[in-house]
């Protein structure tokens, strides 16, 4: 019984615009008009922030290097920070290229 009432209400809700209020228009809040453009915008956003974070990571690793002052474990830490920062940079650069590579392969 409850279900029937619920569905009736739901149907009524959908019928309201048809019955009396005319057509409802939804405005696109985004600049992008296609899904691909949305993805591209998101990639660009992450890319620019990543580009700003790479120098920060390298400077932090440099900081660790010279505060280590010969401590082997600390130097290891610094090396790790540097390595993963550069790895991140490589992946970030690839992410830009990968989209166009896949497009070329699939002839889109």
């Amino acid at each position: 019984m409850r279900k029937i009432i619920f569905f009736a209400l739901l149907a009524g809700l959908f019928l309201i615009p048809i019955a009396g209020f005319g057509v409802i228009r939804l405005n696109n809040p985004l600049n992008a008009t296609s899904f691909e453009a949305v993805i591209n915008d998101v990639i660009n956003f992450v890319f620019y922030i990543g580009m700003a974070l790479v120098p920060l990571g390298i400077v932090v690793s440099a900081f660790y290097f010279f505060t280590a002052a010969g401590d082997v474990q600390q130097v290891g830490n610094a090396k790790k920070i540097l390595f993963y920062t550069l790895l991140g940079l490589a992946i970030l650069l690839l992410s830009k290229a990968l989209a166009s590579i896949f497009k070329g392969i699939l002839h889109i």
Partner: protein
């Protein structure tokens, strides 16, 4: 324990930065900023010419922009929808610059210390190797810090 201390110091510094920003903004949060770095690859309007960058369709009654902190809101000169991204990226670059200057000062002090250790070693082999390490890792840090400054321009060339 040593690591904890470093993280605490960094956190304190960030809070200090944020707090100074909040104190300045008395008409609401700033919806613009003045860029210190040229970010024209993000948007053509993100230029570092000491003038404010903000959102388009500016409404003086709702929006607040006070880049010089004198309590008067003004209309941003460069208007773009990507002002938020530009300001965020610019502040990260600012932080990196700040860290870079601290690093340079630190390296100068480190080299002086290393020289001092060399002098006071007095033929003691372990002490000499220690001070050699000081200099070695100091130089590595210096090279890395310089690299961090070069990398953004290299990437700009690569991508565009």
């Amino acid at each position: 324990m040593k690591k904890d201390k470093k993280i605490w110091l960094l956190g304190l510094f960030l809070v200090f930065l944020l707090f100074s920003r909040l104190v300045l903004a008395d008409g609401g949060p700033n919806q613009c900023c003045v860029l210190n770095h040229n970010l024209t690859e993000i948007d053509g309007a993100c230029i570092n010419d000491n003038r404010s960058v903000g959102p388009p369709n500016w409404d003086t009654s709702k929006n607040w922009c006070d880049p010089d902190g004198n309590g008067h809101s003004e209309i941003p000169v460069h208007q773009t929808k990507k002002w938020g991204l530009c300001c965020l990226v610019d502040s990260i670059y600012n932080f990196t610059d700040w860290l870079f200057y601290v690093l340079m000062a630190g390296i100068a002090i480190l080299f002086i210390l290393a020289g001092f250790f060399f002098i006071t070693a007095g033929g003691d082999t372990t002490k000499i190797t220690q001070s050699k390490r000081f200099v070695f890792y100091g130089i590595i840090g210096l090279i890395l810090a310089l690299m961090a400054r070069i990398i953004p321009s290299i990437i700009k060339r690569l991508v565009s």
